[in-house]
């Protein structure tokens, strides 16, 4: 007689909902004519909004279910909020943009949903197997999404680079996972943790942890595993770039924190050595290379590398404040990054998308509202008060100082100063220069409202951080209670 495992179906209701929504979109795609594909976008928006209404009532428990595969704790739910919001903003920004770019594929909206599903599985996964499958579902959907741009040469090239490097990173991640499985005898994060705590320190464990860290760093675009990011961000359709730079980055952070805090906390001394290097290199390299970028999307790509490095300070600090502030950083980053891309998406240059920084010249005179909003998001990305970008940097830096990473904080401060230059340059171009020729704003009220919501949250998270920080702290309590060195 086979004993059935304990299954709590309520733990995966949000995942089931996203999958059903994707299937509904697939079915409707068959009957919608090619020039009316935006209907699918509105359908997706409606579904995601319904899901957001459900999310406050989502099932939360600290008990893993599905044979320990799925853990629907408040940490996973917080990240699911981030993923669903990222998907929602992406779809809102996509509908009109896809029309302008003459991309008439209804599959686009499905792949947003499949990628979101993959990210949700990653956040809820409490087993290396679930995490891997979620990660691949997300990655494969993103490879396809980055290949459907109008500029076929750049788009296909971006997808190819992303796929080859992404698959290599998955291979490295899996190789690390296989060592960890072999030496601990399990793929469950709790079982790995207890096996490692009982004095298991074969040298292959270090190899395994290093390889897993490399795989995760690739998905977060940390230096030296960042080389795909600028090209893919530039080549993919801008709406896909907006999605890639917020959702999957948050998902990578979610598994990074979960695996390293829950399972590898006994090896903190070893993994901080190389994460220190990844973090410092990302902050310096990202901010220095961004200076020379003429393309605003590439600039934002390097800026996202810098931010990924800064977020890692929170994990390196390895205290409650640090891990909570890394999560809070991701929440703010979602809004400021989505906002900045939201504005960049609707700035057009003649029949093309406005990528060159010179196209933004004089935007303050011709389109004051768009210029003001972009200024707000860039200031937040740079970390200027009273925006959310300042508060999260403050929290992350102070947690790192508490943990004694003085040099890393000095590097982070240096990179913040350098990054001020290229963020402010765009603002100076917008307000101090004469309007550029051929520049226009082509958008819809829906997009305006999405950008406005991003702006409101960017400010609110900077002015009253307490409730959000409280939420993040409560969410990570479950993670760090799995061991008692705090």
């Amino acid at each position: 007689m086979i004993e059935l495992p304990n299954i709590q179906l309520a733990a995966i209701y949000p995942e089931i909902a996203v999958l059903l929504l994707a299937f509904v979109v697939l079915a409707v795609d068959f009957v919608v004519p090619a020039n009316k594909k935006s209907t699918l976008g509105y359908l997706t928006i409606a579904g995601l909004v319904l899901l957001l209404i459900y999310m406050p009532f989502a099932y939360i428990s600290n008990e893993a279910t599905f044979s320990g595969m799925v853990l629907s704790d408040s940490y996973a739910i917080l990240f699911e909020w981030i993923f669903i919001l990222a998907a929602l903003f992406t779809v809102i920004h996509s509908i009109h943009y896809l029309k302008l770019e003459r991309i008439r594929t209804g599959e686009y909206y499905q792949f947003v949903l499949y990628a979101t599903l993959g990210m949700m599985v990653m956040a809820k996964g409490n087993d290396l197997m679930a995490i891997y499958v979620g990660l691949e579902l997300m990655s494969i959907s993103l490879y396809i999404m980055s290949a459907i741009g109008k500029d076929r040469i750049r788009s296909t090239e971006a997808a190819m680079k992303y796929l080859i490097l992404g698959a290599l990173a998955s291979g490295i991640l899996l190789f690390g996972m296989s060592y960890i499985y072999g030496l601990t005898g399990s793929t469950n994060l709790y079982a790995i943790s207890s096996s490692l705590q009982s004095g298991n320190n074969n040298f292959l464990i270090y190899t395994g942890i290093l390889l897993v860290a490399v795989g995760f760093s690739f998905k977060m675009a940390l230096v030296p595993f960042h080389s795909w990011a600028p090209d893919v961000y530039e080549g993919a359709p801008t709406s896909v770039t907006a999605f890639m730079s917020s959702g999957p980055k948050a998902a990578a952070l979610a598994i990074f924190l979960r695996v390293f805090v829950e399972s590898f906390h006994g090896f903190e001394e070893q993994w901080t050595l190389f994460l220190w290097f990844f973090s410092a290199a990302s902050m310096l390299f990202g901010s220095i290379v961004a200076i020379s970028q003429k393309n605003i999307i590439r600039m934002l790509a390097y800026s996202s590398i810098t931010h990924a490095g800064t977020i890692m300070l929170g994990l390196l600090a390895f205290n409650e404040l640090g891990i909570a502030s890394a999560v809070y950083y991701m929440m703010v980053y979602l809004f400021m990054n989505m906002g900045a891309f939201g504005v960049v998406i609707f700035i057009r240059y003649k029949e093309d998308r406005g990528e060159d920084i010179n196209i933004f010249c004089g935007l303050g005179k011709t389109h004051p509202v768009a210029a003001f909003l972009l200024t707000l998001f860039l200031l937040s990305l740079a970390g200027i008060p009273p925006t959310g970008g300042f508060v999260v940097k403050f929290y992350v830096f102070s947690s790192a100082i508490q943990a004694g990473y003085l040099w890393l904080v000095i590097i982070a401060a240096l990179s913040t100063v350098i990054s001020l230059y290229y963020y402010l340059r765009v603002i100076v171009f917008m307000y101090m220069k004469e309007p550029a020729e051929g520049q226009s704003v082509n958008t819809t009220p829906l997009q305006w409202s999405a950008v406005a919501i991003s702006a409101v949250f960017t400010i609110v998270m900077g002015v009253i951080p307490a409730p959000f920080m409280g939420w993040a702290t409560a969410a990570v309590k479950g993670l760090i209670s799995s061991f008692h060195s705090f």
């Binding site: 197997m129 290949a147 090239e157 290599l168 296989s178």
Partner: protein, 103 residues
């Protein structure tokens, strides 16, 4: 169970296969061969999983290997589709010809 052969033999084989795969991805010019090298990496991982599974007497590793195979098939399907697309726009499947974006 192949207890007569020490576990190290399998592990060394898988490290060698994985290294060949990584070198192939980095050094080969043809995208089709790059995709084959990627498969080699993932198969090295499968050997690892099945070896550990067999020596631990635990089924999880074998199940993981099956998942890996399924995912690898999906990945290569997408990879080949993109390679076909690349050939349509560039008339070549050589990695170096995909060099439009720099910086």
């Amino acid at each position: 169970m192949a207890t007569s052969i020490p576990m190290e033999y399998y592990l060394v084989l898988s490290v060698i296969l994985f290294a060949i795969g990584v070198v192939g991805v980095i050094s080969r010019k043809n995208i089709i061969i790059v995709l084959m090298s990627l498969e080699l990496c993932l198969n090295a991982v499968n050997i690892n999983f099945v070896t550990f599974s067999s020596y631990l007497g635990d089924m999880t590793g074998r199940i993981f290997a099956i998942f890996t195979m399924a995912v690898a098939a999906a990945e290569v399907a997408v990879g080949l589709a993109i390679a076909v697309n690349l050939f349509k726009v560039k008339k070549s499947v050589i990695v170096e010809d995909a060099n439009t974006m720099k910086g």
